[in-house]
Amino acid sequence: MMLLAYDIANTASCQVGEWRAQTPAPLWREASAWISSVAAQFSQIQKLQPNWDSYGAMPITRRAVDAMIELLGSVMNPNAPAPTLVPSARGHLQAEWHMKGIDLEVEAIDPTHIEVDYRGPGGPWSETLGVDLVRLVAAINKLSAP
């Protein structure tokens, strides 16, 4: 698949800090809203130093970033709203949505260990997911509805 890099800074060529975001060419314009937001948040998160919360928090690891990237790439659709990325003291990342009567919090421990807490229509439920993401995709699709 051809990949097209785009730039958050000038929206044409695209690098965030030392990291570059890429997305399939046909989709990048549609997807740019949430990708741009997520990439900008990653840019800030990578600047966090150890003990960033003054309570001994661990730095956010490259592995945690990769896990969240892989997860979002698997479950997001072009119309999905951007999550708020929240660093955890354990060095992981949590993606959060609080809108449309839904509270969805997703923590990616690693690419095959994902902890989900959902409150909204059809819920609430909390579950640790591996590679079966059907419930999480359904939740994000609810958030994506116009």
Binding site: M1, V16, E18, W19, R20, A21, Q22, T23, P24, L27, E30, A31, I35, A39, F42, R62, R63, V65, D66, I69, E70, L72, G73, S74, V75, M76, N77, P78, D110, P111, T112, H113, G130, V131, D132, L133, V134, R135, L136, V137, A138
Partner: protein, 317 residues
């Protein structure tokens, strides 16, 4: 989507495409074989297999860099004396619920992109190992030797993979590079189906793939002159739990010139790739999935190809 760990030059020129929790192991505890359904597998005397890749992915080994790759090569150099460098493959995980059209994107670190995937190749070019920070793959191929006989999964490919994966894991542990925690494995078969007494043009594909060729070929319009099909199906366990996927990809193309066939001729390339989570812990879990994948691939191959082609390939079971 599919087989970026195979080395088929046609796939590049035509259409190069393409868990359960991590399974840690503390030692290369491998068993050479298991009582498989091999006796019930369809078998062929001259299958059109051009390449087979057995691969495993694991959590990235942050300290596995260029110097360590060099030291690893020393262990394999006698059997695999040639080396080539390739771009790293993405870490690919089969997930239920994730759809192909959905957006994918990733973040690259420039320094990380410089780390290579290394091919270690035997003298004849028929066997190779591929290693990178989060992947180990063993290939058999016969592009450079069209007469090479397919060595069979149970008799050669699987035992060789077990042995060399064990050596790789042993090296990682002895070097103190971390634990190899498997999270995904895959088995890829690339078949080159040459024209014969059964078929001669791309439009004859229904003679080769009667169960998937639509009726449109048979009696409407002009001849079909290009095929590019992508399909995938879930692999599940007895409880219906998701294990991974079987990818099926069919392309039509023209052959590359060879001394015995200097003129290009039509060619079907059929790829079957089983990818999914290890079924259990350690190397045994990887092998369990690969064996399931082999069952699915062989059965699917036999189901979607015609009995006339089976005859040409010398089906014996």
């Amino acid at each position: 989507m599919l087989t970026r760990d195979v080395a088929d030059p046609w796939l590049r020129s035509v259409h190069c495409c393409q868990a359960g929790a991590g399974q840690g192991i503390s030692a290369p505890a491998v068993r050479p074989s298991r009582d498989m359904k091999s006796s019930t597998h369809p078998r062929f005397q001259h299958p059109p297999v051009m390449e087979v890749a057995l691969g495993v992915q694991f959590k990235p080994l942050a300290s596995f860099g260029v110097p360590q790759i060099g030291r690893l090569w020393e262990r394999f150099r006698e059997r695999f004396p040639k080396v080539e460098h390739q771009p790293q493959l993405d870490h690919e995980i089969e997930r239920r619920g994730a759809q192909l059209p959905q957006v994918s994107f990733r973040v690259l670190e420039p320094n990380r992109a410089l780390l290579p995937r290394v091919w270690m190749i035997n003298d004849s070019g028929t066997e190779l190992l591929q290693v990178q920070q989060d992947r180990f793959v063993r290939n058999w191929r016969r592009y450079s030797d069209g007469t090479a006989r397919y060595p069979e999964y149970l008799e050669h490919l699987r035992p060789s993979f077990v042995s060399e994966l064990g050596e790789f894991v042993s090296f990682i542990e002895s070097e103190g590079l971390g634990a190899v925690e498997f999270d995904q494995c895959d088995l890829s078969y690339v078949n080159h189906i040459e024209p014969n007494e059964v078929w001669s043009t791309t439009g004859d594909w229904w003679k080769v793939f009667p169960s998937i060729a639509p009726a449109i070929d048979k009696d409407s319009g002009g001849p079909l002159d290009y095929i590019g099909l992508r399909m995938r199906r879930e692999m599940v366990d007895a409880n219906g739990d998701f294990l991974g996927r079987l990818h099926i990809q069919l392309d039509s193309t023209l052959s590359a010139p060879r001394p015995e066939k200097p003129e290009p001729h039509p060619l079907f390339i059929l790829q079957l790739i089983a990818r999914g989570s290890p079924v259990g812990r350690g190397v045994e879990g990887v092998l369990s999935f690969l064996d399931l994948g082999h069952d699915a691939i062989v059965t699917t191959f036999a189901n979607i190809t015609s009995s006339a082609m089976h005859g040409a390939w010398g089906r014996t079971a």
